[in-house]
Amino acid sequence: MKEKLQKIKADALAAINSDNADLEQIRIQYLGKKGELTSVLRGMGALSAEERPVVGQIANEVRAEIESALKVKAEAKKDQELQKRLISEKIDVTLPSKAATPGKLHPLVQVQRTIEDIFIGMGFSIAEGPEVEYDYYNFQALNIPENHPARDTQDTFYITDNILLRSQTSPVQVRTMEHQKPPIRVISPGRVYRSDAVDATHSPLFHQVEGLVVDKGITMGDLKGMLETFAKTLFGNDTRLRFRPHHFPFTEPSAEVDVSCFVCGGKGCRVCKNEGWIEILGSGMVHPFVLSNCGIDPEEYSGFAFGMGVERIAMKYYGIDDMRLLYENDTRFLEQF
């Protein structure tokens, strides 16, 4: 009987390990109700009381071994099938993607937001004001009386004699100072209008970001420090600044600010027109006339202001050579940013 059991085991294991083994069929053949092992066990009654437990144990061991072999083989088979499936499921990963394409923010908005975020990080808030503005806020409060020659540099669109399209976002600074006492740290981004015909570098409408700081003890060194931080953040840590004396009626002293060319580092290239420097900012210490006009005592407070053209920076930043592209809104252009 023992031999019989050993043979069953050997047969069963051989069958399991043979190629194309039908495991379920093997299980039924050996372990099923009418299976070989079962029928052997049925014959156990003929055995002696001494032999019965011994053979029983062997029989159980054989069953266990067959079951275990079946299980291992089944796992292996499953694994094989999975491998086969994975191979059959290989796809062409170079086929075009299906995901919805997100749209793009307009390049001007991207640059404007970058500028805003730099100043927000330095404690600035964002002030907004009307684009259709009183002459008073656009000019007079900024130390540019009627018939002042400085008005020539900003050819202005007028609605009536004293309402115009703002030619700068500075009126927002005046409005801010009228309503808020120092400390003041605001930037005023927005659209401004000048009577320039459209060409590659001019547009009757463009965007500015101006900034204003008013507090006790603000120095011209502070102005330089802040603009340096700004330029380094925007154009990279190696950026150098050059301050040139200039004249704006609402600041004194006034400066135009150049940054070292972020493309060539100052050696001279197409972007900086071989000058190594790119003019990007106007700035200066707020004129005491402007402060006192807004009810701020210039003896107690000082401040600085600065302004930049977003189009100009965006064009330099992205290497755009024609301003008209920014307002054509050709999607082939917009989707590049």
Binding site: G103, E131, P204, M220, E256
Partner: protein, 796 residues
């Protein structure tokens, strides 16, 4: 301002400094240089030559063969010019020579005869007949005989063509720098050199005559004329100015005319004092009256333009008529002519704003008015007048009559300020010693006396401590000021909730696949027709620009739809497929004429290609949901002519219409040459922000399962699904969690003007699992209501 460095060297010696270094330093100290030009650099190897012999050319009727003495040798040059003669002194280009316009002259043969150069005309040397008066402009330039001892000399030296011209951009606060002397002063300070401005001296003719015998001056409008000075020159001989003077004018960009006119221009350029010269014989009554023009008074300026004046304008008049528009231009009636024998020189100071307004009203801006309008120094009149008379004597142009007329009704004291070096240092963030500050100021001709500073009369721009600080800073060097960080109270920065919402919306729009655009705020009033806006629409009332660039940018838009359609049309024209765009732009709604308009922000959406009405509707709904506005209605709007009458809707929150969306009307699209359906929306961004629900409170997640009931039924085509949803919700009560659509079918089995609608109702109670009976009951109730209220027929 174009500065001749030759001229500059009369007053300060900076000749050892290269043009580039000169320009850089001047820019650094506040006189911004635009560029510089080396005059004469485009001429090489052109010399003074003498034609010794002329012989005809065998093979040509018009060519002649010249033997030309060029100083060290005689060369043969063939020329086609006819105005030459033996003994003529001419410019000759000797190979290899360069001429303006990148022309190279090489030796060669002309019809078989060797020619070793070219005789030059004035044009070939870039000269005009104004530069070379009395010379033939078309033939070879025949030089005067006094050049005979200069044979072989570089023509640039002989004709004084070499110079460096520096172009300055002078800001409006520094009219004193619109002069050679002003820039010499700045140069001297910038390079720490000595400034040497000689005082003009006038001898006058000693014949016992005096100016009072000839002229009287009265100022009738002292508010517009601070000072008026005049001198008389008699026995004037009008002739061309000498070469050196003409060449300095030429380098400065001023056309030489004749000696007297050139002197006035020369003094204006040198001293910054605009001058005028009248022909004395044309002054009626031997008098000059500075007065306001009469309203309607007519005046012909010396450029022969007729002007009608008014009483805001200042004129220089004689006893009968206006002879000059003060500070702007002289009159044709008294201009210097070849026959002029007696001249009145005017050197005056007129009020800047008056000159500016006068020049503007008459549409003429002159070198003179451009200076006056910035506010000139009355104290400069004297020096300018004296310099003019000195030049008259130097040029032998006439006899200066003894005496000066000087009417000075309004002499202003010099500006005096406190000198507080510590305040200036604290303001600039510098540590400049009081002594260095005083030195800087003194070199700029300020007087520093103890703790007082007195600004020079030519610096009307100095009025407060900041102005003095700027003088210190610019000479000390802006770039030497140490950068620092603000030391102050912290401030709370950041975006306002509305600004944040705008950023969020922009990002969300991009996330939904729309590209952002930027369009002009001004449009053509015709665009209202293009979008088929009703003739009586209030939106046709725009803020109108009084001086627009053109009709198509002449009014501020009251709607963003035209801007969006323009951009879509452009993209359509470029064959760009599947275009989806948005803009957050302003519209400008007029209020009253003397008040500012309301500027409202609009979220404008437009798309064509792979999209339909429900795409744009989805975008709009998502924006409302971003604002946590979950209750809104979309109601068909058949009345907006811009949109398809059957495919347009208003979006409302409560009673407030916050937007319109729809398919753009085919007739509108025809106006934009777009031949594909376009979907658009205009959402009131401000209103949506106002309605934004700021408190987003958590709703507990459901604890009990939901159950669904599906219904398919047939109804009238005209019945809106929104109505079915609303009725189902109403009938089902609070057990209804959601109603959704899963199919709409139209076909012959449904019947004409009918549709089959399949909806799914989700039912849930928050406190228990619904029993089958409860769900059945609710479903039956909904069905009954739909049948009773909306006339649906259940499909089996």
């Amino acid at each position: 301002m174009n500065l001749s460095r030759n001229w500059l060297s009369d007053f300060v010696d900076v000749s050892d400094i290269s043009a580039k270094d000169y320009c850089d330093r001047m820019t650094d100290t506040g006189s911004k240089v635009e560029c510089f030009e080396e005059l004469g650099a485009d001429i090489e190897n052109v010399v003074v030559a003498k034609i010794l012999k002329i012989t005809p050319h065998e093979n040509s009727d018009h060519l002649q063969i010249c033997q030309v003495d060029i100083g060290d040798k005689v060369v043969q040059i063939v020329t086609g010019a006819q105005n030459i003669f033996e003994g003529a002194i001419v410019p000759a280009a000797i190979p290899v020579a360069k001429l303006p316009g990148d022309i190279t002259i090489k030796a060669g043969k002309l019809r078989g005869v060797e020619s070793n150069g070219m005789l030059c005309s004035m044009g070939e040397l870039n000269l005009t007949e104004h530069d070379m008066p009395g010379k033939e402009p078309n033939g070879i330039l025949i030089l005067d005989n006094d050049f005979a001892d200069k044979l072989g000399m570089d023509i640039r030296d002989a004709l004084m063509l070499k110079d460096t011209v520096v172009e300055f951009e002078i800001t409006s606060n520094r009219p004193d720098c619109l002069s050679v002397i002003g820039l010499a002063r700045e140069s001297a300070v910038s390079f720490e050199r000595k400034l040497n401005v000689p005082t003009p001296t006038v001898k006058c003719v000693d014949d016992g005559d005096k100016i009072e015998n000839h002229l009287s001056v009265a100022i009738d409008a002292p508010d517009l004329c601070q000072k008026y000075m005049a001198r008389v020159v008699k026995n004037v001989k009008i002739q061309p100015s000498p070469l050196w003077l003409r060449m300095r004018l030429r380098a400065s960009g001023v056309r030489p005319i004749n000696n007297i006119v050139d002197i006035t221009n020369y003094v204006m350029l040198e001293y910054g004092q605009p001058m005028h010269a009248f022909d004395y014989s044309c002054l009626d009554g031997s008098s000059i009256i500075v007065r306001r023009a009469g309203d309607g008074e007519s005046f012909m300026s010396l450029d022969d333009q007729e002007h009608t004046l008014d009483s805001s304008m200042l004129v220089i008049a004689d006893s009968k008529k206006a002879v000059a528009l003060a500070g702007v231009m002289g009159g044709a009636n008294s201009e210097i002519k070849d026959s002029t024998t007696t001249v009145v020189f005017e050197s005056a100071c007129f009020l800047g704003t008056s000159v500016r307004v006068t020049a503007k009203k008459n549409g003429m801006r002159t070198e003179s008015s451009a200076r006056f309008e910035k506010g000139l120094d009355p104290e400069n009149c004297y020096a300018g007048l004296e310099r003019a008379c000195e030049l008259v004597e130097l040029l032998g142009a006439g006899d200066v009559v003894n005496g000066i007329i000087d009417v000075y009704p309004d002499k202003k004291p010099l500006t005096e300020l406190d000198f507080k070096p510590e305040v200036i240092n604290a303001f600039l963030g510098t540590d400049v010693s009081a002594e260095d500050m005083a030195n800087i100021l003194t070199s700029l001709e300020f007087k520093v006396e103890g703790n007082k500073i007195i600004a020079p009369s030519f610096r009307a721009d100095i009025g407060c401590m900041n102005d003095v600080a700027e003088e210190i800073a610019r000479i000390y060097g802006y770039n030497k000021i140490k950068s620092s960080r603000i030391k102050a109270e912290t401030t709370q920065g950041g975006r306002t909730p509305k600004q944040k919402f705008e950023v969020d919306v922009e990002n969300a729009m991009c996330g939904m696949g729309l590209n952002q655009i930027e369009t002009f705020s001004f449009i053509s009033p015709k665009y209202y027709d293009k979008i088929r806006l009703a003739a009586d629409s209030t939106l046709r009332k725009s803020v109108v620009i009084s001086n627009p660039l053109g009709e198509d940018t002449s009014v501020m838009r009251t709607t963003t739809l035209p801007s969006m359609l323009e951009v879509l049309a452009r993209n359509y024209n470029y064959n760009n497929a599947n275009v989806k765009l948005f803009e957050i732009g302003k519209v400008y709604i007029p209020t009253t004429p003397d008040k500012l308009p309301n500027e409202n922000k609009v979220l404008s959406i437009g798309m064509y290609g792979d999209c339909d009405f429900y795409t744009v509707k989805g975008v709009c709904e998502n924006i409302l949901k971003m604002a946590a506005i979950n209750e809104f209605s979309v109601v068909a709007n058949p009345d907006n002519a811009s949109y398809h009458p059957g495919r347009c809707a208003n979006i409302s929150v409560g009673d407030k219409v916050v937007g319109i969306l729809g398919e753009v009307h085919p007739l509108t699209l025809r106006n934009y040459d777009i031949d594909t359906p376009v979907y658009a929306a205009e959402l009131d961004f401000d209103a949506i922000f106002e309605l934004m629900n700021p408190n987003k409170l958590y709703t507990p997640l459901p604890k009990y399962p939901a159950t669904t009931r599906d219904f398919s039924f047939v109804c009238e085509e005209a019945l809106e699904v929104g109505t079915i949803f609303a009725e189902a919700k109403k009938a089902g009560g609070k057990l209804v969690e959601d109603v959704s659509l899963f199919d709409i079918y139209r076909g012959p089995q449904v019947g004409e003007n009918k549709k089959s609608v399949s909806i799914r109702v989700t039912l849930r109670a928050s406190d228990r699992t619904l029993t089958v009976e409860e769900a059945e009951k609710a479903g039956a109730k909904i069905l009954k209501a739909l049948e009773a209220q909306l006339g649906i027929t259940l499909r089996m």
